[in-house]
């Protein structure tokens, strides 16, 4: 498997000449008067693990169901490997889906569940059983072939569902909240297992999730959705570090947001008037004086100290709450005007006299630490 190109390393989306594997072209899905998916266009490349991320009702599951063929788009088209999927029934598409509820057939054994797709395709029984055994070994369920789904734990059921959706070696695997029903520890294990299987088999994955942490860990790229539209597409780092809107900044990780007005666009540093006073950020092309903007600052970019800080932006406040998380601590700092700011700081080993409740502190961040958001 050495010569397999991993999308995670090749990053084909950065190359304009690369042909996308899945093309979603202006897809809209209306339910009555409501646009569940609103004019979405998206290119997904071979070998990617693409996450559609958004809150409930943002249209991500509907988009996935249109890819699988369970819903018909009101307008627009989907192409998979250059072939138009319009009018192609779900059972004839080169896709398979792993359902959020797993949808295992309760009256069939694990083995029969997994072999189902092969047998319907007309694969000989002998061969189907051999491939099923191999697939069960891949998901580490070798000894469970004759069990019924209700005799398995949640994690085991999840792996049966994964095995069943992979057995036909689909070109495109669609996963609907694949880790939703698992507890935290099992999720983390399974996340890495998913990545391992995806890289082993070279299948393109499209994952739907509402969990931003899951999306960050799993994906080569993330598409953030809101109200039926894609609001930002990018690599996890891009989305986290340079969100393009207040919605994305707020949705991915935690963030402090200041609403303000551009004061005067200086050549080097830009000054923005906010309720906590003027803040300085890096200039952004195309901003006009007096324009209303938002400034987003991640909690880990903010320094916290008892001593005055030397930074472009400094404020003072009182520590209202401290949450000790082990590797880091989260501070809720009340500023002089009464608003709260979230600050995180790494914890040192055997730290003597750490900052605690009700202490007067100085906080500060550099101009580069903040993102300017125009919407």
């Amino acid at each position: 498997m050495g010569n397999k190109e991993l999308a995670a390393e090749a990053k084909p989306w950065r190359n304009a000449t690369e042909k996308p594997f899945v093309r979603i072209k202006g897809i809209t899905k209306m339910f009555g008067d409501l646009a569940a998916v609103d004019d979405v266009s998206l290119d997904i490349y071979k070998g990617e693990l693409f996450c559609l991320l958004g809150g409930s009702g943002c249209g991500k599951s509907t988009l996935l169901r249109m890819l699988a063929g369970f819903e018909t788009p009101t307008s627009g088209a989907i192409e998979i490997e250059g072939q138009d999927m319009t009018g192609v029934a779900a059972n004839l598409r080169p896709t398979n889906m792993m359902f959020q509820s797993y949808a295992l057939f309760p009256h069939m054994s694990v083995e029969k569940n997994v072999a189902y797709g092969l047998l319907r395709e007309g694969v000989a029984k002998q061969e189907a059983m051999e491939r099923t055994a191999k697939m069960l070994a891949l998901v580490k369920l070798g000894g469970f072939a004759s069990r019924k789904p209700h005799q398995l734990s949640g994690g085991q059921q999840q792996r049966v569902a994964l095995a069943r959706s992979l057995i036909k070696q689909p070109k495109l695997l669609l996963l609907d909240e694949p880790l939703g029903a698992l507890d935290k520890k099992l999720r983390e294990e399974t996340q890495f297992e998913l990545i391992r299987i995806q890289e082993d088999l070279g299948v393109t994955f499209i994952v739907v999730t509402h969990d931003q942490e899951e999306a960050m860990t799993l994906s080569t790229r993330i598409g953030v959705m809101d109200a039926g539209r894609i609001v930002q597409v990018g690599e996890p780092r891009q989305i986290y570090e340079t969100p393009n809107s207040r919605y994305v900044a707020d949705f991915i990780g935690s963030v402090n947001i200041f609403d303000g007005e551009v004061d005067a666009a200086a050549p080097d540093l830009m000054r923005v008037n906010t309720p906590v006073g003027p803040l300085v950020c890096e200039p952004l092309a195309g901003l006009k004086a007096r324009q209303n903007i938002h400034i987003a600052v991640r909690p880990e970019r903010i320094k916290l100290s008892r001593m005055p800080i030397n930074a472009a932006n400094t404020l003072r406040g009182t520590v209202e709450e401290v949450a000790y998380m082990g590797n880091l601590s989260i501070y809720r700092v009340r500023l002089e005007d009464g608003r709260f700011l979230k600050v995180t700081a790494a914890n040192g080993l055997h730290e003597e006299n750490p900052i605690t409740w009700d202490e007067q502190v100085h906080i500060g961040w550099s101009a580069a630490a903040s993102n300017v958001l125009t919407q």
């Binding site: 699988a68 063929g69 369970f70 029934a89 779900a90 059972n91 004839l92 896709t95 398979n96 889906m97 359902f99 509820s101 949808a103 295992l104 057939f105 309760p106 009256h107 189902y116 797709g117 319907r120 395709e121 209700h150 069943r164 959706s165 036909k168």
Partner: protein
């Protein structure tokens, strides 16, 4: 750690249904069992007592001749076999008609589903007897069905349906259809749509998905519904009497004849006892199917 008392609240609650069963099921059952072991007499009541005092000694009269008689006269065995056949054929017919109906109702969107369910149980608002009489009006030689078919020019002379087995089948299937549809509907409505989507997704056609997913998962409903038709139809008396002819042989009719025409209560009781045994088998099948259904 109190000792369980006999008159505890718990026991009292259970006592009411138990009392009901003993009084209205166990006692009559034992009376019928007793009569089936007696000899017929021309007296009131028309059978010999189970025990009597003869010259100062207690004499028990236990007579198995009634059961033996049932083997000797082929009428009874034929009546049982014919009842089972009629019950089996009607169950199958009801299933062929009822399954699509139950499936359609279960797949219907909500406002329509309630209306359809209401329509299924609507006939219960009219007396069963009246509804069977109504079928006489439809099926008789100068009845509604023949009038319509003659008027439409489909037939040249009226069909003879009344007083044949066909009329009995029509009456039974019509009467018992709701008993099949309701349990089947209750099963089908629980079917998870994503299972069918998973089946399509894995390459199965709609027809194949039906036979591999829907049908096996609805098996408990099929069995429950079928038994609710099969069991009472074996003992059915009103429909074959009103719609059937002299050739329609069913155990319920034979039983009635023994009691009221021949006044041979002991043989009639023996027929009833054997009928009970015959019905226990499908009831056991039903119970095991329900237990299996509960597992999934």
């Amino acid at each position: 750690m109190s000792k369980r008392r006999f008159f505890s609240k718990r026991n009292l609650v259970i006592a009411i249904p138990n009392f009901w069963l003993i009084l209205f099921f166990m006692v009559p059952f034992l009376v019928v069992l007793k009569i089936s072991l007696a000899e017929p007499r021309i007296a009131i009541p028309p059978y010999s007592p189970l025990w009597e005092w003869v010259n100062g000694s207690l004499k028990f009269n236990i007579n198995f001749e009634n059961y033996a008689y049932m083997w000797q006269d082929s009428l009874y065995i034929n009546a049982y076999l014919s009842s089972i056949k009629i019950a089996a054929v009607s169950t199958l017919l009801a299933l062929l008609i009822g399954y699509p109906m139950a499936y359609y109702i279960a797949r219907s969107p909500e406002p329509r589903r309630s209306i359809l369910l209401l329509l299924v149980v609507l006939p219960f608002w009219t007396s069963f007897l009246l509804r069977v009489y109504a079928w006489i009006g439809i099926l008789k030689t100068n009845g509604i069905l023949n009038a319509v078919l003659l008027w439409a020019g489909i037939i040249d002379e009226p069909l003879i349906i009344m007083q044949t087995d066909i009329a009995v089948y029509i009456g039974i299937v019509y009467t018992y259809l709701p008993f099949l549809i309701l349990p089947l509907y209750a099963n089908l409505v629980k079917l998870d749509d994503t299972l069918l989507e998973a089946s399509y997704d894995l390459g199965a056609s709609r027809i194949s998905s039906f036979f591999r997913i829907t049908l096996p998962l609805s098996l408990p409903g099929i069995i429950a519904g079928s038994m609710l038709v099969f069991i009472p139809v074996i003992g059915e008396f009103v429909i074959p009497t009103l719609l059937g002819g002299p050739d329609t042989l069913m155990i319920g009719k034979v039983l009635w004849g023994e009691y009221f025409s021949n006044r041979d209560w002991p043989v009639a009781s023996a027929v009833a006892m054997v009928m009970l045994v015959v019905m226990i088998i499908p009831i056991m099948v039903l119970r095991s199917a329900q237990n299996k259904g509960a597992e999934i």
